[in-house]
Amino acid sequence: MLNYIIRRVLYVIPIGLGVTVLVFALVHMSPGDPLSAVVPPDAPEEMVQDLRKAYGFDKPLPVQYVTWLGRVLVGDLGVSVARGREVVEELRIAVPNTFILAAGGTLLGFTLGAILGGIAGFFQGRWIDKLATSIAITGVSVPHYWLGLVLVIIFSVEMNVLPSIGMGPGGSTAWEWDAEHMRHLVLPVITLAVIPMGLITRTVRATVAEILNQEFVQALHAKGLFQRQVLAHIVRNAAPTTLAVMGLQLGYLLGGSILVETVFQWPGTGSLLNSAIFERDLPLLQGTILVLAMFFVLLNLIVDILQSAIDPRMSRR
């Protein structure tokens, strides 16, 4: 077991290096000059060259990569070209904001998905199953940004009951868990929750339906257990699959939703990526992608270790 964990942790080193190469290459392969968006259109070429030199963009790409990697290894992701701010500092603000949104979206999506999926699974073929399934299909089919805009039009513009942008009256640095800030969370969380809700509904429905057909359920009924006691057994059996899907969705949402964060001006990693892309801010772009990619690498590591702890066969492979 310990050997497996050590081996698995050591794997992270080549994977991490591969991620850095990929991130750097992808960002630099994209067309366009990294300085064109930050210097005014009629800035003279000489001035642009000065700036290119100041940011090290005049050096060959392998040299730029090694320099960047050297800094990354000591926790320095560089300075945003457009903003002049430390990339680490930008991420320090953006990551928790995305986490709040992602956690809210996952929680709401999971709760609704589990309820709808459970109902649909128990009442397969009935009208309520069809209704729940329709809601689930709608959830996975509706484009995020469209739903966001519709919610803004209904609840912000027409009814004027919920704010349409931002994290609160004072911005993210003044975030509190109070009613005023919760109001800012409502629309983006609902928008973000629809896809996980749809996916979890379908997963739970299929899992519950499968379990209901298993012999142990008939045995439980034969033992004379009450319906709610049988239900408890079914839930316990359906939980691992559902939790696995929920975990995947949480990971996906933590990556930041560019569209949802842009529609609601939510200052998270999605919004950061959006501005980095439009401003061709390479240090910010590669720093943000790297952190998000490494987050997934680490998440996978944790999942693998946990799985091996639960199922010893995993570590013997």
Partner: protein, 548 residues
């Protein structure tokens, strides 16, 4: 100060439950007395260290709030063209014997927000910041944002020859490369940061940007990247007529026009810049006040004059200008535009008296094309580079498609190369002969006409094509160069404007661009916003504004 962010599953569960419950509750938006919240079009808070980024919006909502130039823009009137007025310099004059020498008398008693005095040393320090790479305050990024706006100023890095010199504690002499009457228009873009604050922030511009200090009428109290900047009045500002009436201004970047509109209608901001034209009737219906005014902006097609371009024939250029239904395009923009009669509007002192009138006359356009040897069986074929969006571009896709239809009706077939805004600017810098232009015959980039150099010189002078400048189309006309030289040698403002009027007259009579409309900078605000005077300028002042 950053507040604590307690985070636990319990808090999250309570929070999510509260959020769901609150979705159904109704509460009026909060309003602080005397606070104006502005929704900007920028995607981020403009740089606050002195020279702003984010184009002229950066000057409007950061640069000219925190800082002054030696010369400022007059933004006190909505009825006349906005001109230059004394700023941190009380007066300026050119040496009669040597017209490359300018003497600026520095205002006494002006203070930076940190309490330090503004004087001639501060002026020299600020110019070193932009040019002298050996000075500790030199910033390549800041220099890249503004140095191109002051091309006349002498600076030679090899010999360290500087065109700025202290005469006494309140007098500075500037030297230009050649006599240039446009110099005051160039120097007004240089904003003065505090040397004392730079030192106090560890000689680090990024730290200075968090706690900036200028001499402007507003002080920055908070800056949250990508979210908000907060300003309060600087009570010791040297100009009592520019003392802010508001208690506070909050600027919020909201780049998406629909999000800006929603933010205004839901009470999260009191003022938005550039609402989408199709949202304006809805905003008016909901009681919002629209403000607009002509300002120095032109939306046009910049034509290529390289060999083989169909635009080399003046008859084709004139035909295209006569083929455009500008009233239709103004309607497309919800009425928030003014038909172009040239590069600048007739209300501008540089308009002159062109004989070629930009009217909608398809028959005359067809006749000109026939005269040039084109007809239904032999249409003019042009390729244009356009963007799908961009600063000052208004609604580029529908406007260009409208023009494409107009031009097709007279026998000019237009093919579009649509690209992202930054890519278009890359190609604009490279010029019509560059490989990136891929043989395009024109480019659609909207332009400022705020000052003579931006309006005329950079596009019309023979030697300012790529890489020396942005004469994208390689236009070259010795007589035009002569007129431009005469204008830059005329130090009497009336005489200078007279020469510029001749430049513009020649430009229109030769149909050097395909001009379409001037923007009127629509902005929407609640009825509570009072006292705003929309100057005929890219820049605006929030000092007379108050909240009812």
């Amino acid at each position: 100060m950053r507040s604590k962010r307690p985070f636990s599953l319990r808090n999250l569960a309570i929070g999510a439950a509260a959020a769901i419950l609150l979705a159904g509750t109704v509460s009026a938006p909060a309003r602080a007395g005397g606070t104006l919240r502005v929704g900007m079009t920028a995607a981020d808070i403009p740089l606050s260290w002195g020279q702003p980024d984010q184009g002229f919006e950066g000057f409007r909502f950061m640069g000219l709030m925190l800082y002054d130039g030696l010369i400022n823009w007059d933004m006190s009137s909505a009825d006349k063209a906005s001109g230059l007025i004394p700023g941190l310099a009380e007066s300026w004059s050119v040496d009669e014997a040597d017209k490359t020498k300018w003497t600026f008398k520095i205002r006494k008693g002006a203070k930076f927000h940190d309490g330090s005095e503004f004087d001639a040393d501060a002026v020299l320090w600020n110019f070193d910041r932009l040019f002298d790479k050996d000075s500790p305050q030199y910033s390549a990024r800041m220099a890249s944002l503004v140095n191109f706006r002051i091309p006349s100023l002498v600076y030679d890095a090899d010999t360290n020859t500087k065109g700025w010199k202290k005469i006494d504690s309140h007098t500075v002499e500037f030297t230009t490369k050649s006599p240039d009457s446009f110099f005051p228009y160039q120097i007004c873009y240089i904003l003065m940061s505090s040397p004392a604050q730079f030192e106090a922030t560890g000689s680090d511009w990024n730290k200075f940007a968090q706690n900036p200090s200028g001499t402007g009428p507003w002080k920055l109290t908070q800056i949250v990247p990508r979210e908000r900047a907060e300003f309060v009045p600087f009570k010791e500002h040297w100009d009592e007529t520019r003392q802010p009436k508001l208690d506070k201004v909050v600027t919020i970047p909201i780049p998406d026009p629909n999000a800006r509109t929603a933010a205004l209608l839901s009470g999260q901001v009191d003022w938005i810049e550039a609402p989408a034209p199709d949202a304006i009737p809805r905003l008016e219906e909901r009681g919002m006040v629209m403000s607009s005014n002509l300002y120095p902006h032109v939306w046009s097609w910049h034509l290529s004059r390289v060999e083989g371009s169909p635009w080399n024939d003046i008859r084709v250029r004139k035909a295209a200008n006569l083929a455009i239904d500008r009233d239709g395009i103004v309607s497309l923009l919800g009425g928030y535009a003014v038909k172009a009669s040239g590069h600048v509007s007739p209300a501008d002192p540089w308009y002159g008296s062109p004989s070629f009138k930009l009217e909608y006359n398809p028959d005359a356009a067809k006749a000109l094309l026939a005269e040039a040897g084109f007809g239904p069986d032999n249409p003019v074929k042009v390729k244009m580079m356009i963007s799908a969006s961009g600063s000052g571009q208004m609604l580029p896709l529908p406007m260009n498609e409208y023009m494409q239809q107009n031009l097709a009706e007279v026998g000019i077939e237009v093919e579009f190369e649509v690209m992202e805004w930054q890519s278009l600017l890359d190609r604009w810098r490279a010029g019509a002969k560059a490989e990136q232009a891929q043989g395009a015959n024109g480019i659609n980039v909207s332009y400022t006409t705020q000052d003579p150099y931006s309006s005329f010189t950079r596009f019309l002078r023979c030697d300012l094509h790529a890489p020396a400048g942005v004469n994208w189309g390689y236009h070259c006309d010795a007589e035009m160069d002569e007129l431009l030289n005469n204008a830059s040698l005329a130090f009497d403002p009336v005489e200078r404007d007279g020469w510029l009027a001749k430049v513009h007259t020649r430009e229109v009579d030769n149909a050097l661009f395909l001009w379409v409309v001037h923007d009127v900078a629509p902005r929407a605000m609640t009825k509570q916003v009072k006292g705003f005077i929309q100057a005929r300028n890219w820049f605006q002042s929030l000092t007379p504004v108050s909240m009812e």
